[in-house]
Structures are given as C-alpha cells and as structure tokens.
Symmetry: C2
Subunit: 366 residues, 2 copies
Amino acid sequence: MGRKRTKSGKIRLAEVAELAGVSPITASRFFRNPEALSVAKRTRVESAAKELGYVPNLAARALASQRTEVIGVLIPSLTNNVFSDVLRGIYDASEGSRYSIQLSNTRYSILQEEKLLRLFLAQKPAGLIVTGIDQTAESRAMLEAADCPIVQIMEIGPDPVDMMIGFSHYDAARAAVAHLFEQGHRKIGFVGARMDPRVQRRLDGYVSAMKDAGLFEQRLVVTTATPTSVTLGGALFADLLAREPDIDAVFCANDDLALGVLFECRRREITVPGQIAIVGFNDLEFMASAVPTLTSIRTNRYEMGKTAATMLINAIEGRRPEQPVLDLGFKVIERQSSSTRRSDSRPAVSGAGAANKMIALPSSHD
Amino acid sequence: MGRKRTKSGKIRLAEVAELAGVSPITASRFFRNPEALSVAKRTRVESAAKELGYVPNLAARALASQRTEVIGVLIPSLTNNVFSDVLRGIYDASEGSRYSIQLSNTRYSILQEEKLLRLFLAQKPAGLIVTGIDQTAESRAMLEAADCPIVQIMEIGPDPVDMMIGFSHYDAARAAVAHLFEQGHRKIGFVGARMDPRVQRRLDGYVSAMKDAGLFEQRLVVTTATPTSVTLGGALFADLLAREPDIDAVFCANDDLALGVLFECRRREITVPGQIAIVGFNDLEFMASAVPTLTSIRTNRYEMGKTAATMLINAIEGRRPEQPVLDLGFKVIERQSSSTRRSDSRPAVSGAGAANKMIALPSSHD
DNA sequence: GTCGTTGCTGGTAGCGCTGTCAACGTTCCT
DNA sequence: AGGAACGTTGACAGCGCTACCAGCAACGAC
C-alpha cells in the first residue's frame, strides 16, 4: 500500500515506518537520536529496520540535513611510512563511527593542498584533518572560515586554526643532537631529503643545537629536495664524506636515510658506531633489527592519527576537548649505532637491541 | 528575483541558469554532457558558472540520479608498502576524473571484507576495486549481483567477477626458485609471514618448483601467521637455521623478511651470498641499496593501481576493455645476494647493484 | 505541402530524507 | 484544580539536482 517501491525493491525509511506503525519522521529520529523516542516505538522501529534490512540513503540525508558525515583528510604522501601509520590510526578511530574518511594527497604542494581544500570545503565535510601548519594564506583563511572542526596533525605550533596534535620536530632534532653530544661526538653531520616543512624544522633544531655548542658549520649539512630513499641516504652521506671526511656522527632526517648511511658505511668499511655514529628519525620497525641496531627518535604516529580522528569526531558531536593542542612528544631510542659504551658488538642472542635506553621528552615549544 | 539564496549565499544551479539565461535543466546538462548544448548556450553557462564560482552539490546529484561518483577500494592493509604503492596508482588515476575514492581496510579478514562490501554496495558506488580473488561465497555473490564495474587486483585467476589485473604469485615464486637453481643452489629454505592468500600461493609455487626438482622437504619451510616485519625475518631465519643448518639459500615471501634475514646473517657472520643466498619479493627500493644488494622479484604495483583505476573509470563510462583480465607479470631482479659469479664484493663506486640482470616473464597461469 | 527526423530546450515531478513547528498527552508544581 | 513544563509525535515543506517526456524549430524526403 501507499507508495510503490523503488525499482530495485529498495527499502526506504517510509517502509520501515509503515511496518513499525509510526510516522516516517519518528523513524528518522530513531536513527539520529534514539533517546528521543519512547522505548516502545524505539524497539518497534529497530526491529522493523532489521527485518527489512533497511540501509539509510546517505545522499538523501546529506541533502536534507545540509551536512555530510565525511571527514576529509589531507596528507602529503601515500607512500611515506610515516603517513601510512598516521592513516591507520585515523581509519581505526573512524571505524565504527558514522563518519567515513575522504583521503586526498597533496604531494607536498601547498598549492595542491589549497585546491583540494577548496574542493573538500565545498562539500561541507563534518570535519577536516590537515597535515602541518604551513598552509597558504588563502588556505588558512578558508580553514578559519570553515564551519567544521579541524585538526592539524604532525606538528604543533603557536597558532592553531582549531585543534592540533603533534610534536616539536625542532625539539626532537635538538634532543637527537644532544644525545650525540653526550656520547662524545662533536663533528656531527646532517643528512636530509625532500625538505618539507617538518624536515626543515628538524634541520633548524640541529643547527640551533650545534650553534649552541659552537660547533655549527654549513659544510656539515647535506640536503636535497629529492624524495627520500635508502639509496639517497647513501649518496648524500657520500657527498658529506667527500666534503668533511673527519665527521664522527650523522643525524639523518629520517630512518630510510639512516639505513642508507649504514649501508654506505658498510660498503666503505667504516665501522658504526666506532668511526661514525648514526641517528635516524621516526623509529621505524627495521631500526631495531639492523646490524648494528640504529638509534632513532620515536614518534607516536599511529596514536597521533587515532587521537586526531577521535578528537575530531568528539568535536563534531559537540564534545570539544578541554585542551585543543596536544603535544605527543617523542623519545630518543638509544641503540648500538650511537652508543659509546660498546656492548660486545655481536650479541649472543639474535634479538636486536636488547636493552634500549629510552629518553622520554615532552617537546616544549619555545 | 526568483527563489531566495541559501543562508550561506550558496550558488545553486538555478542561479547559474538564471545568469546564463537558460533553464536549470539546460545548465545541468552542461555539466553532464556539454556536447548536447548549442555552442552559444554552452559558453554562456560556462562563463556564468565560473563567474559565480558554482560548485555542484554532490548529494543532490546522487539523490536525483540514483548513483554516486564514488569508487570503493578494499585493501587488506594500509601499512604494507605494497598496498601504498598500489593506492598511489589508484589515486593518481582518479585525480582529475570526476570520481572520488572511498578507501576501506579489511585487515586481511574476508569477513570484514564482506561487511565492508555490503556497506559500500548499499551506497551504489560507481565502481569497486577489491583485493585478490579469495572472497567469501556471500561476498562473491554480492559482487556478481552488483550493478557496477568491478576490478580485482593483485592477482589473476581463472574466474574473474568482472575485470582483473595482477600477476601470478605462483609463477613468480617458481621463477625465484628457478633462479636459485640456476645459481647452483639446492637446499633452499622458504620464509613467510602473515600467510595471506597471495603469500600462500608464493609458498605453493616454491613447493611445486622444489618438488619438480625432487628437492622439497617440509622442514625447509618456516612460516607464521604473524604480520611481517624485518625483525620477524631474522627470527624465522634463526628457526630455519636451527632446523636445517646446512641450507644454501633462502627465498623470502617479501622484502622485509629478506632484509631481516640479511641482518641475521650479518649478526651470525654468515656470508651472503657466499654461504647463503637470499631472494626477496616485491623489489622495494632498499633492496638495491643493501650490502650486499638483494635479489628480488619486481612487481608492478603502482602501474597495477593506476591501470586498475583507469580501466574501472573507462568501464563506468561505458568503454569496456577489450581484454578484461590483465597480467602485469613480474621480473626477477638478480643482485649480489644470489649471484654466484661473484663480482668484487666491494664495488669501487657506491652505486649499488651496478648491472642488474633482469629476467622478464609474463606469468602464465596454469 | 506534408510528414518524419534530428537537435536542442524546457516543464514537471520527484529522488529519500530531515528541519521546523505545532500539537498532543502526561506529569509536576502551586 | 489549574497551569506550566516537559516529553513525544506528526504534518509540511523543502534540500539541489536530474529523469522523463513534451515541445519547438529547422531540415530533408517523399
């Protein structure tokens, strides 16, 4: 009776309401705010929906309510391990919620980011997760004008658009250099690739720590705009050695580069950490397994993504966090590659990096 | 005049039509099928849309047209490098098209996949990309009943739902083992982790090649359901050595494991390839940079993603491929870790794996 | 000259859902 | 007892767009 079914026999809200003996609007409320219904009707609608296998039509909902249940995510790269960890956290947090993730790739271009942002915002997303704090002026203006919660991830800075979760790359780099100082190293090179804003801030942190110690020289820094890779790590390190053959340590802007440096040392029969100490950044899984095990800066990427998405969803639903800026900090994971108190270089058991000394620091943004 | 603007001053199609002096439906046609308009109106609508900064409302479009412009993608993992390469290809191909990507993560569970599939299908996606050929019976039925194009990726098999693009993991594994035979190895171990269907087929290929040569022993195979990692590669290899100390080669189901094996060899002062040869799978970037450089099976992951998305979009728009099943093949990339004709183990130049011998094979699925 | 045929345009009527507001019954207070 | 306050429900009117079909002009074929 009533209206005829859609061609495909699709179940509409009206059918559910009819079976439950309520009006469509009451059935609608059941899905948005069940508490508003009396218990009797709630159970009636619930079982009717289940019986008919009702699935709400998201397009109709979006059109009628003038908002979507889409969370837009803008990241610079899909390939970089760092972002895949963050993404996993985001997807895990969104799973089970009503929100779906719309992912776009800025390819490290803030102009591309601006374009994608415009596209996203036009569809009135429920919320937005953007990477970093270096947007174009126009992007920044759009973000500030957007009427949805926004989380900036990967970094923290003084001027959040809305919410922010990350850590100080600057402080983390300073901690890495401080660790090398502690181990007695003085002539510490820096190897960096891609040089996106976060890598740049790691370089800044390195430079400031070196200057503080009166040890900075421009010649110790080798960088390139080329995307990072293990092979590139080896090549950059070769350049560095050609310039400064007597360096005693290398701080790498990421772990791939560090692994490349390690391999290059092996090729040249440079002992690690005997002749050269190596410190990486991110603490990817393989760092603990390399020979020698490689010191790195652990960052909480999965947790960052998960927390960002959780905070965002809460904010969308009106539960704003008491603390909109969250510093997840970092840890210096000291391993063989930078350790002067040399354990026997060949541990009996294959288990790598037996006892990692951890130095935990909340990054204090100054 | 006419109807009032939306609260936010949003530009609707009606405003564009009004400014262009045409009916809304004509303006609508401009965005869907510009060729249907006379040149005069076409340019008028075009400039009106640009002037007003019109952005179509996708929800309204989806509701009215009963279809979406969303391509659903189901992959088992976001972290695995293999899939991030595929994804990059998919996103690259979708960029610039009208279609957007909706990504979901099955976590290697076909039950989870079935659930997600049901969710996707309910929203009438324009097309679907699913990983592999091992769906539940129910998933399979849903896919077959779906009224949208579907591409299965990563593998090829005898019975495509619709389109299919990938390669034979079985043949690739056989080729890896054949390569090790050629190099004179006989006692070849297999190391595998996670054991998803594709890894399982690599194992099957290994087993069949070994049996063909009369060399198969169950004791040569070490696998675990645990997710893969470099560290795990070392641990599994240690197990293998404990069982069979006199193996002369290891075929690893992926490159992370291979790197772990390499490190474990270094820890134990086992020379590679002198005492043990190593072959990995996927040819990730670091394989060419390790010391020694590591032999692997190159698979065309980026191309696979890109081609899959391109094929899918073409099919959505009515241009079905002449060849619905595409075998992208693989290549054995021979490097130092499995080479018996020993080049000086320490090349003068740091450039790794100077001359890679490549063995290209289209995988023939039997 | 009449009849199709083609190419372009517009009117009408929803797509399935929700915002708004009014109306109802019930409870609680004074 | 009267009224306010609350909790619950429903009617109505779209959200912005497109499917469908009708209309109209221009043209060629018979």
